[in-house]
Symmetry: C2
Subunit: 688 residues, 2 copies
């Protein structure tokens, strides 16, 4: 068996698996046998891959079945992501200690005189050429590990699978299901938390961890290099929050919508920021041999990379969204009077393909696909959704809801599995404690100072209890895990990964489970009807509440309402009224006939569809249902008021209900007969 | 640049692409630079992969948009699959002749002394170890080609992608959307065509082609070996029919349902037969050195492999379907009284995962996943579908409809592309002509003799015009292409692939386009309402029509109706009545309470849902709609008749309407105001 060393003699065996091994050993090196053997090896490899994927499918199936079971016990302490992690851990234990598939053949190692590792390799075997593709670098440790347990290696995915296959649907769905009214109302705060807050968090965490690492170096616990850039990278990685558990509970109990919006918006955007930030930090390459000294040029270059990639991805995502909305508008107009049986299928297919193409285009251009699909999702929700037929609105939403559900639970299962299947864990108690302290301080440094500053400008201030809840709800999840596992080549990165895993486990299980208790502890109001909250508030305050939607947003809103919406959807005032006179002919061209009809109502088409408890209630035109009735009557009362802000509020209010809120799929279904506030009371007073 | 030769000197360059090349040339072999370089190479490779996938996504998008455009012109000559192929061809031309990405660096070829090609390779580069995975064998030709045009290589997929990713959704959806009443009524005929017919077709085609090849050898046109086993393999490959175009037109014009069922059922099953048959032929390994002599043992072994794999895959697919139906039944009972908001999501997720797991399980056990998912789909449609909630029925159907749509158009686009991107075409006019002759004769030998024999036993005979139509409708498509492209290593296989491609093009464009004309030419009735056909037929004939559903089917039906249905769904007579007395306690256990309610009606739950023109019309219990009303009133009239056959007919009649028929998504939408017969008349008399 080959051990690590500078030069290894070429072994003449085969690195095969299972039954093929015996055959291989007996095979004579003739042409036919070789062909059969390599076919068998490929086939065996394929069967193994199928078996591995099957393990994950069964994990997911188990998770779904348990969710069903849990509904009886109304277990509010365990969300499905936490459940998926538990199952992953269990299976990981089984794979690690229960099953042992020894590799009973040797590796083949070539000691060829190549100076660089090419992407593709041609190997000449007795006149036949075989093509090999570079999978990656293997550290000396892994070499040894490989021979220990084949099984573990096979259930390990290439980290890029997360960024190319699993995260895009999750992030897209997050953007597509944004609760727009409250998101845009709190846009300034959300942007502050997402950008400034993440940067602050990254720096604070990096510094605290650096101190911890310095301590470890002094006490001799450090087994390898751990630079400040690594600490900063760790800071960026664990700054990506994923409060999916908390949000699910919030939605279930109908917690304060302001809090929900802040938390959700922040988490969605700081995922995007964290990815690009970590890429920028990794791209930090100072001149000279030592790659970890401080170099101002390199730092500014990294910052430039951050800005460039982020804005590029943003632009790409938004552009595709706008493009698709234009397309769907045109097609909708063209096909409006033909009853095309396959219309929803084609619409859904087109929607899916163009969203996917956003991702690919961004990746092909060197930007970040995940960030692009986020903004694509937001844009689609704002424009394209209105242009789709009702059936297609359902279908697209359901499709991405399913993809999001499967991908998210897959990642969380994998997380649990990785605790045991990852073979290069570096668990250092000092570092772990330091990391937990760091994220606590980082979150605090993020939330409290920023909230204070924001409250100076906000009318509807973020109360201290809300701040405490935001502090508490800083769970880590899929994004942090994916970023951490992306590169585990060095000692530092391995330690970071192991610690991130522990952080995710702890926050999801402990903080996620304690959310309900914390809610009552902090006296945060529940059972809040999203629209009724307008009723109790006096009109003057409501007017000023809207005024707090900063000038930035008002600017954007006017632009959007007067130009973009008419251009891209059927709603909003006709372009002929909003564009200056010189553009008259163009405006007439571009104005949808429906816009003239809608002018009186100034209402989005997406008020047509309101989902209630899984039933599809269709309303069209002026007729409204349930929660909307208050707002709409309120709207007509205020019609004479300041048009832009009232229109804003009306528009966003109508536009919100149909979108499924991310985090809705719960372990914690509630019987509709039971009012939420009672549940919380019983939680406060202990189980009944 | 390296040319083909037995031993190649190791080149010190890099096989990289684009901008990385210059950097690489200048890189000093230091550790850091190597790391950057290999990271850059991997990144460049990833960007290239994204760009390639983007090409296909844009192809699909174009296809969808053109379908929309076509609806205006009601072009009935071009189905979307033919359209996708055209676009593929156009893009292929552009890629081949328009874009030239020269590879301006050398390959790296290692002349290492290895005796076999391992599945994984470790390369030692100055102390660092890199892992390479075996991609495949490259022939000497390809080596040269590779250096010509990188672009073409990159848009070429590993053929296993078709069998692992693209074909499963297509085949599953075919099984899931089977028109059950007519399928089971004609089960005997369909099985005959699918099994016997495919075998006959394979032998006839193989023989004719062998004759052609012998001729070519005599005239010196043959450039390589072409054995009889290759001819047989070609026969198996092109026996897989895929009349999706024709079926779409049939559905559109509401052609004779008997014909539709025969054609659809045959195509679905003969795909399965063709896959396993081709695997068996490939597995033909006679003893001794010459692998192409006739060896009875080897032949029987191949036959054994065929039977083993087919029945194993069938069993696996059916078992998983039954398993899932059991599961969904249990869950349905448990959750019946809780209004679970996420119920449809969980149900759909579970359905999707278990269908996928069927595929993986079959593949992991060495069976054929595609065949397993076919039978899984059929089983799901028969049992599990009834147990799902209404919302889930929609969702699962829509989900797989979308997957089927995307996958099918992807394959057809790829076919068009492959005409120009495949670099080892072998077009031989003699062989092509011989192949066309062969498939004509093969189809004739399949249809006519079997129809004659079947008509001896059938009451409702298959008329000669129907036989001619079946002869005409032998289009080839996705399955034939995938089987042909699976292995193109040898000269014979390359010639077979090129010819198969031409066959697919010709049959889809020419025969698909000429379907409408052929329908009127053969005087096949159109505008047939699936249920009304029972009304006009006298009762005595109807009774005997049912009797023709052979004893085989009657046996299966009784078993299914009395035991399986009650066990796996809510419908059918309660087990307590059908099981013998001794099993009383068990039967009481397993009988769903709902079964007692249903006993009077003997009706499937799936009569609850009938889709009309994209609108969702819900009926429950006795109330019916539109097309069903005739049948149900007819049903109550015949209630006193022979219970098993009438019940059969009733049950299947009710069960059919909700399933979307494969091939429905059309280029050819019809305005509902226009009756189909008029359209056909106008087709007959030429365009208006």
């Amino acid at each position: 068996m080959a051990g690590p060393g500078p030069v290894l003699a070429a072994a003449a065996g085969l690195w095969a698996r299972g039954a093929a091994a015996a055959e291989v050993a007996a095979a004579r090196p003739g042409a036919l046998e070789e062909e059969i053997v390599s076919e068998k090896a490929a086939e065996e490899s394929h069967r193994q891959d199928s078996a591995n994927l099957l393990v994950f499918i069964l994990l997911l199936t188990l998770t779904i079945l348990t969710i069903w079971l849990f509904k009886h016990r109304r277990a509010r302490f365990l969300h499905e992501t936490g459940l998926a992690m538990i199952y992953g851990v269990l299976v990981g234990v089984v794979l690690r200690y229960g099953i042992h598939v020894p590799s009973d053949v040797n590796n083949v190692t070539l000691s060829c005189q190549v100076q660089t590792s090419p992407a593709t390799l041609l190997v000449n075997v007795s006149g036949k050429f075989y093509e090999y593709t570079l999978k990656g670098e293997i550290s000396a440790q892994e070499l040894n590990n490989v021979q220990d347990n084949e099984m573990l290696r096979k259930v390990t995915f290439d980290p890029e699978v997360f960024f190319n296959i699993l995260l895009p649907p999750i992030i897209f769905y997050a953007g597509y299901s944004l609760k727009r009214r409250h998101f845009f109302r709190n846009l300034g705060s959300i942007l502050a938390y997402a950008f400034l807050g993440t940067a602050i968090s990254c720096l604070v965490i990096g510094s605290v961890v650096y101190g911890c690492v310095a301590l470890m170096k002094v006490t001799g616990q450090l087994g390898g290099d751990f630079y400040f850039t690594d600490c900063l990278l760790f800071g960026a990685i664990v700054s990506a929050t994923d409060p999916v558990t908390v949000l699910a509970i919030f939605h279930e109990l109908q917690v304060d919508v302001e809090l929900y919006a802040l938390l959700f918006g922040e988490s969605v955007l700081n995922d995007a920021v964290a990815i690009v930030l970590s890429s920028s930090i990794v791209a930090y390459q100072p001149a000279g041999d030592n790659s970890h000294t401080f170099d101002v040029t390199a730092m500014f270059k990294s910052i430039g990379i951050f800005l460039g990639i982020f804005s590029g991805s943003f632009a790409m995502g938004a552009a595709t969204g706008v493009c698709l909305s234009n397309l769907s508008l045109t097609i909708g107009n063209v096909t409006k009077f033909t009853k095309l049986r396959e219309f929803p299928l084609l619409e859904t297919g087109l929607f899916f393909l163009m969203s996917w193409s956003t991702f690919l285009l961004a990746e092909a251009c060197g930007f970040t696909g995940v960030v692009a699909v986020l903004f694509c999702g937001i844009t689609q929700a704002h424009y394209t959704y209105n242009n789709l037929s009702t059936e297609s609105q359902h279908r697209t939403k359901q499709l991405f809801e399913l993809l999001n559900f499967l991908a998210e639970n897959f990642i969380f299962s994998y997380m649990g599995l990785a605790l045991f299947t990852f073979q290069n864990h570096v668990f250092n108690p000092t570092f772990v404690v330091g990391a937990f302290l760091a994220i606590f301080l980082g979150r605090a440094a993020n939330i409290y100072p920023l909230s204070f500053l924001l409250n100076l400008g906000r009318r509807n201030k973020i109360g201290t209890n809300l701040q405490h809840m935001m502090m508490f709800a800083g769970l880590r999840g899929a994004m942090a895990f994916a970023l951490a596992i992306r590169d585990t080549a060095t000692y530092a990165r391995q330690m970071m990964f192991s610690t991130t895993l522990l952080i995710v486990f702890f926050t999801v299980w402990v903080f996620g489970g304690g959310t309900t208790a914390m809610l009552s502890c902090l006296n945060i109001r529940v059972g809040v009807d999203a629209d009724q909250e307008n009723v109790g508030v006096p009109e003057s305050e409501r007017r000023s509440t809207k005024a707090e939607s900063a000038w930035l947003f008002r600017m954007w809103y006017n632009f959007d309402h007067n130009y973009l919406k008419p251009l891209l959807t059927h709603s909003g005032p006709p372009l002929t009224t909003t564009l200056p006179g010189c553009c008259g002919p163009v405006a007439r061209c571009l104005t949808s006939p429906q816009a003239y009809e809608n002018q009186e109502q100034l209402k989005d088409d997406d008020s047509d569809l309101i989902l209630n408890d899984g039933d599809i209630s269709l309303t069209y035109g002026d007729s409204t249902v349930n929660t909307d009735s208050v707002a709409s009557s309120g709207a007509s009362r205020r019609f004479v008021g300041n048009s832009s802000e009232d229109a804003l509020d009306r528009e966003l209010a109508f536009g919100d209900h149909e979108l499924v809120i991310r985090g809705t799929r719960l372990v914690l279904p509630m019987d509709d007969s039971e009012p939420p506030s009672n549940v919380l009371d019983s939680a406060r007073h202990g189980p009944a």
